[in-house]
Symmetry: D2
């Protein structure tokens, strides 16, 4: 089959690779019909988070059609249109039985395209623990919507949910890339009075404002002073960090009101974040950083997407044939042309 | 002073009555600047729920200016613009210290205009336990908004909150009068995928549809079949009953999905509602009926109203001088002219 | 095989019946090693709730060893020691995938020994949707403990959980049979300050007192006055009803403090419980009646039983060979010899 | 009056100081009848956290009798027996109206004996915002119990509550000083299956074991390996840190199971705790550090203490006259004689 493969930093190739085969009786082979590039794929692209070996197909956001299932797969069958979870687990522990792969008790949380698994930016993909990692695409959900449900939309929702937003709360979402945008959209599900959207890209801020947020350009104002002034001297009760670097995490903790919650979904590889613990305690804060057990959120999100309460498909700005995957990465990496979400079509 | 007083069923009068005086050191006298007619005032108007004696001013929704406070009132002072809670308690028990008058441990839950208290459709009103029953009107809240915060908007919110709506849930709101409309608007704060609005008045259904609900005219379709068909054969997980009679309560319990919650805010005087308990148990339901501890919800609702997330002031359809209060009741009782919420101006 | 079968009210027989066979690929055949008699089996015994046809094996509480599994059973295998859930569902809907059989979206909530399924007081039983209805008995759990985990212990826990007990609350448990006893023991997991145990059987009250409850003999005192006096004039915030008749449900609603929760686990077949709805609303109550999705609670309860925090096996008072099942029912029905829980050994 | 005052590290004196006077209309003067030494007083004793000026009375745990109240104090009066909250706030913001001083919106969270307020190890103390900082001692609560309710017991409970313990969870409490002991006792209110108590002092571990905990002597075993082995390879879902230094906080985060919660109540003055953020995110953890809004917990804790579900008074190991306060500090600082909690009697 053809796939987008990794050969080194900034060296992706569209090339022929062997077809995947069923690794065990609990797996399935899916023919990919649409894939997307995730912000975290850039870590791979830059070589900071390479796949386990060169030449592997990359990517972890895709939908497709089931081609073949192992003998012990009972919930999906060949021909089914499915979402592929952007992560998998062992599939045989209590947490995996719930689809809560992040908490897999055998510590087998893995991401396709990394961790020894073939990626999703390919014509075919082998999916382990298929009963829990594949979700039927129901009527009323378009392909684009389903694709957004394989990672970006659940991650944003999970981040907003773990922020413990109560009706009337003020919320700040730091970062307006695809994950931040998803969190912003999800935050409105919890009845906030005000949602501040922080970024430095004017068109991303404009997009956030169009969704009802108060845009805060961190290059133009001091976000802490600006937001406190808007809130009568206090910070927002809930802050969602959707970027990842230490600096924005520190901003999140500083910005948050005493007694509030900081929910972090930006990916971090930091080993020594310098936490001001005395201050953290004085402020009575709650801090959470998370990865996403994608299937856990499908039941909640599908009706919201179907009824148009969430419209994650609006994030898609570009489409390329899979064969142009390497070029698509360059565009995405350089943030050209107002790019938000790029779709690849095998 | 002048007030709208009760003299018998359908016999309201605008007349001179003695000015109220401070009943004790924890009370305040408020000069009413705006009052509103509540759906439950019709029970009084019809004579089903008369005030404790004839000639009493009626009504329990009002805002005003503090004229005088007792020696032990510490949170408000003369000159303050205030919302008057549509109910009061003893003001000295733990529940009243939280503003949770419905649960007053001295069983002194009382409504102005009933229960021996002078009503709010008057030029002046004496308010017991003023520290907990009066709320400062903050900047950014208009008089109309503040007026809606004295009963209708908190009651709708409380009903939606007690319905335990989770993101993605389907919700039905039975009845689209002022309380049902408030509950409908509040339900959207909890991230439902679909909200069904049930009524038989076309213009009320149109109003609900304009707010994003699916209108269900109970005179035209069987609501249970209609809604189940829309939801793939299942009922909505959450039902809010905002009318009160046994028939609509029974509909709510029948409509609700197994494992769901029915939250009732329509006022009931039923003594023997025939509950099908075996069926109720088989369906694993939760049933709540409630009155509203108004002040409990101000902190949540004020920022939502100020930021335009809730716009309860849109319910106001008519305005009369207080002197025309009796005529205003007739119009409201007869549901003429698309009436929803009527305001009286002293 | 041999089984205890139903032939009419008070007419149970121990007799030879055909061995069960695998009804479909998602089922399993289990060799029963221990069974128990549930209070609700008396409804069958009295003929009020007969099996779907005469001659069927009855009972729904048992543990055993898996003999055979269908091709699509992936979580258990022949030779496994298992608990058999006291109820089953379709096994193919989202709720059944969670083991939440009561809410089965195909409305296939069924109890072995009723609803067309062979019962558990037999040498063999066919268990539908075996992946979700069978639970592995882990090390450290005795057979008696596992047996109590198939219905009584989860039902009591579910009833206590749905009562929403918060630390410091006062709780009343109405009825001290096996289900009430289980609820009493579970109530202590939620940190109550006081738990009142209501019954009329002195030895059951003594048992409750030994567990730390305040015994209330309803034949000797008026429970409402007695409890309110102990609580400074207020009722308990949480009431668990574990009997079923209208009279005890009415007592539960009357006893409960305003703003509190009544959780009903006693089985009801009442069609017209006369609910005082006005009073219910005035008290701002929450009312829940429930059946138990047994597997939902295993993960929580197993460590509690293993560590001795819950000791449901202490409820077992009598043991008979399966062949004496009919005699065991007589003893249980007549409440002779301080009987609480009766075990049958095939 | 006489008081224990601070003159420098290890230099406490029992001496005559001026009587306090009412600072404003919302304050009260309380005659202290019992005071206690808190672990955090050792920070003062060592000079790490000195009072705002030398010669000030120290201490923040005490009960007494109200002598005098300001004109705007409405909830207590002279003669009342009261608990004095170990912290205060402004008394006029929404959070202080709830007794939630830690979140005071005017940032006036203050501790008696520090922050410019006279301390409680004195014959008299002036208490600001008396309506919210003083709690009536109800019948059935002994002086020793009331004293423990002014800080230690609420802090332990708050720490356990914020750990989000669910029935069946495994819990670890790091540190078995007075605060850790209080958290340990409170943890049992939430229905855990196993509670591990970590310390290095054998008698404190013995005390924890007597309360039902599994003792873990960190000088004898590696706590992470030991606990994981007991839990089948996984960590406890909930960890309470009750010491404070960076090393035990790091242990808490390492010990906690993926998806779990670390609740920190040990006092920290760390400015740069090196948080392994990538690991924290990979484990999907929740981390909370907190100070205690004491009055917030009285309603919950009083019935638990009165009914003997919590027995914090058992922590008291030593009693001295107030005049021997300096000697009492030496004994407590040196952990002589199995000291846990020291009471001073004016």
């Amino acid at each position: 089959m053809k796939a987008v493969t990794f050969h080194g930093p900034h060296d992706l190739r569209y090339e022929e690779v062997p077809d995947p085969t069923l690794p065990d009786e609990r797996s399935a082979i899916v023919r990919v019909t649409l894939a997307a590039i995730c912000g975290s794929d850039l870590h791979t692209y830059h070589g900071d988070m390479p796949p386990s070996r060169a030449g592997m197909p990359i990517g972890h956001e895709a939908i497709g059609e089931v081609l073949e299932v192992g003998a012990r797969v009972t919930r999906v069958k060949p021909g089914d249109r499915v979402m592929i979870s952007g992560c998998v687990g062992c599939g045989t522990c209590p947490r995996c039985y719930e689809g809560d792969f992040v908490l897999c008790e055998r510590f087998q949380f893995r991401v396709p395209g990394l961790h020894g698994l073939g990626g999703a930016q390919a014509e075919l993909i082998a999916v382990p623990c298929a009963d829990y990692a594949l979700g039927l695409i129901p009527d009323g959900i378009s392909d684009d919507q389903a694709l957004m449900l394989t990672d970006a939309c659940p991650t944003g929702y999970m981040g907003a949910k773990r922020a413990e937003i109560r009706p009337g709360d003020a919320v700040a979402v730091i970062g307006q890339g695809p994950i931040g945008r998803s969190a912003l959209e999800a935050a409105f599900l919890f009845g906030p009075s005000t949602v501040f959207a922080l970024d430095r890209v004017p068109e991303r801020l404009a997009g956030a404002e169009a969704m009802g947020a108060v845009p805060v350009n961190v290059d133009e104002v001091d976000p802490v002073s600006f937001i406190r002034q808007r809130l009568g001297g206090l910070g927002p009760q809930r802050v969602i960090e959707a970027v990842g670097p230490d600096a924005t995490v520190a901003l999140a903790l500083r910005l948050c009101r005493a007694g509030g919650t900081v929910s972090m979904i930006g990916a971090s590889v930091s080993r020594e974040f310098p936490l001001n613990l005395g201050f953290f305690q004085w402020k009575h804060l709650t801090f959470r950083a998370s990865l996403t057990s994608v299937p856990l959120y499908w039941e909640t999100l599908i009706p919201l997407v179907r009824e148009g309460r969430l419209r994650p498909e609006r994030m898609i700005t570009h489409r390329f044939p899979l064969s142009e995957g390497p070029e698509a990465f360059r565009l995405f990496d350089e943030r050209r042309e107002g790019v938000m979400k790029v779709v690849l079509e095998p």
